[in-house]
Symmetry: C3
Subunit: 300 residues, 3 copies
């Protein structure tokens, strides 16, 4: 599978597997291990986590599976996130839902993630959400210390608008390597408001969360979903895709920003569908027909 | 007429003539040639085209006229645009309305424009619209090759917001020389959202399309048009202008960004009215009265 | 009181006193002098003016008081603003409400401010509002001349969005030292749209006008005011504050951008309340509870 270079010493698989809903799948350790190996065998080597996924449980479930076959660690890249504080049974000390990007919180969060994921290092740490209360010097100090200690190799952000990216980066002695964004044919905000353009300007490949728009396209009854479905089905027939999800992945993969879609499914056949999308190359007419179905009007 | 320097070796006349609607005027070659000479004699030496104007016919009509008197070419600057793909009788291979800013499309488009305009070189090529599917490296490669081949002297954009400008420029080995924007007392968007401020920051003089708001001010029945008309008439009486169009041009010309309005009319008297506007200098009260009529409220 | 460094040779008190409504207080010279000395004795050494405050009368009232005890001048920093032109009995030559940031207007305005404030120099001059008609070269020329003549020590802006800041600063031979913004728990616009983030990026401490939202929180009957009041009262009880105003100041003071709130009251007890706020350190839960009360929903 194509690799995307994020730094001199870090590359990701073009498709990434996301563990956001691992806790919902009710998988045994063996099931999870099978899923990981299924992905790895097909070249998907990058796995996306966050401390809070599954109310602070998904990292642990993944770590348990990884412990069964520790040799897999060196074949994969692990991404995790921190910065959101969530009230949860697992964290009784949390009172309100808020953000915390202080040095102390980031360091503590990484200790938890390393232990839960049963690993010595994180390949990429992301600040989960832009924090209106961020002290960028604190965040930068945490990043520098974590890198020095070998606990985290590289750093990025998620859901950051351009001013938030520029602000944080101005405090860092090294560049941020990615921005994980909501990017799909259904959700065009980051295509339109300059967020994706900053990635192109900085030559930073973005990760795409909810590349299938969380299913809203498949079952949605709103006009946008209905319009998009019709175009995706037409395009699918034209290129010979088996399902709409392939077309949605292909639409993102065709964009010049080198978008890395995150596959959020625990089903092997959905992972395989995403992999099939790598072979489709939409032409300009097809790409814009999908865009315009989503916008509900032609480009000007 | 005042000249505006866009690059060391490129200056435009302060007023530009636009051929957007040339195909609608039903002009003979002689009529068109007369219009061109009328403009040139009065110092308007810059002519604004796009491949798609008149559904891909305006460049050709202009070229036919220019062929009658090829010596005029060296007295004028030719601007054209590419990047929009329009379904048209003239381009039966075009299926959907979309954008294409790939190297192949830009190179092909310039070959067509050179042939249609009956010229060896374009003074300024603009990307017509920001393309959400742009691969900036492809666009940059096309620009570099066209400049090396002597087919296009300078490059700019049209309708680009700040993030789109910064993104494309970061891939170029030379600066973009202008942004052609919708700018008029009726349409303030680019005055307010940072687009014009980027021109000032980069010290790039913008071109203004629809400086008269496409006639909406003269005949519009919306409150904004009614308010503006009243103020324009009052200001016109104060300065001694013959018509509202003079005041609208004068309002743009007075702005410090060195805006170059594009006159879209094929009538000599409307061109002459624009030229008369060069003599009016609105004072601060007059400039803000017009602004505030358009906004519908005072500045804060 | 904590000092905030704005430049190598300029620091402000963390809390600033604002004279916006001085003309409304009907203070005698002695009253005003008393107020000034009350602030100075408590470490509030920075006083915020604008030419137009009190319809061009507040600077004069302050100057009259200062004349009673000229030795105070060297113990304080004087901020004033220019750029708004207001129709007023005091300025019969003004026809319409507009902006003027030309060199001539700025120089004239400073002559008036120096005379009215009975001082030889202004510590900080701010452009009061972003001027859509600004010629940044004129503004820069005025700044350079005023600094050379020793009439103004440093320069900044007020209410500037990021593109307005970047544009003006690109014309200046020295950095702008602050942006005076509307910042309060009730008015979050500048927290959200990148304006405050530019301050952090440029490491420029902002001044906050209307830190108490002009009273709308205390008496407002809109849902936002009601929600905020409830949270502010709860937080006040938790930290032991005497009133909501202390909590509002503490919320701003806790933000990492080193916000300098402007106290707009002429009452000594309200000044003392602001000073008490310096001792409170809201925790993350408290800071976000106030933010979320204002937004009306949780952070994502």
């Amino acid at each position: 599978m194509e690799r995307i270079q994020l730094a001199e010493d870090l590359s990701f698989s073009r498709l990434i597997h996301g563990l956001w809903r691992l806790a919902d799948w009710n998988y045994s350790n063996t099931d999870t291990l099978n899923l990981i190996e299924h992905a790895l065998e097909r070249g998907i080597t990058t796995f996306d986590h966050a401390d809070i996924y599954g109310s602070y449980t998904c990292e642990t479930l993944f770590g348990h599976a990884l412990k069964e076959k520790p040799s897999l660690r060196s074949q994969m890249e692990l991404v995790t996130k921190c910065g959101i504080v969530l009230p949860s049974k697992q964290r009784p000390e949390h009172k309100t839902h808020h953000y915390n990007t202080t040095k102390a919180h980031i360091l503590l969060s990484i200790e938890n993630s390393l232990r839960n994921l049963q690993t010595d290092y994180i390949d990429l740490l992301l600040i989960h959400r832009p924090d209106p209360f961020m002290d960028p010097q604190e965040t930068a100090d945490a990043f520098v210390q974590l890198q020095k200690e070998g606990k985290v190799r590289h750093f990025g952000v998620s859901n950051f608008k351009d001013h938030q990216w520029r602000m944080l980066e101005s405090y860092l002695p090294f560049p941020l390597v990615t921005n994980q964004l909501e990017l799909s044919a259904y959700n065009l905000e980051n295509f339109e408001d300059g967020t994706l353009n900053l990635c192109l300007e900085k030559q930073i490949p973005p990760m795409a969360w909810s590349p299938l728009a969380g299913g809203s396209i498949f079952s949605g009854t709103d006009e946008k979903a209905i319009r998009l479905r019709k175009t995706l089905e037409k395009t699918g027939r034209e290129i010979g895709a088996e399902g709409m999800d392939e077309v949605l992945y292909a639409w993102l993969l065709r964009h010049p920003a080198r978008i890395m879609p995150i596959i959020g499914s625990g089903k092997k056949d959905r992972i395989d569908a995403a992999i099939r999308a790598l072979q489709w190359t939409l032409n300009h007419d097809q790409w814009f027909e999908i865009l315009q179905s989503s916008m509900g009007h032609d480009v000007p």
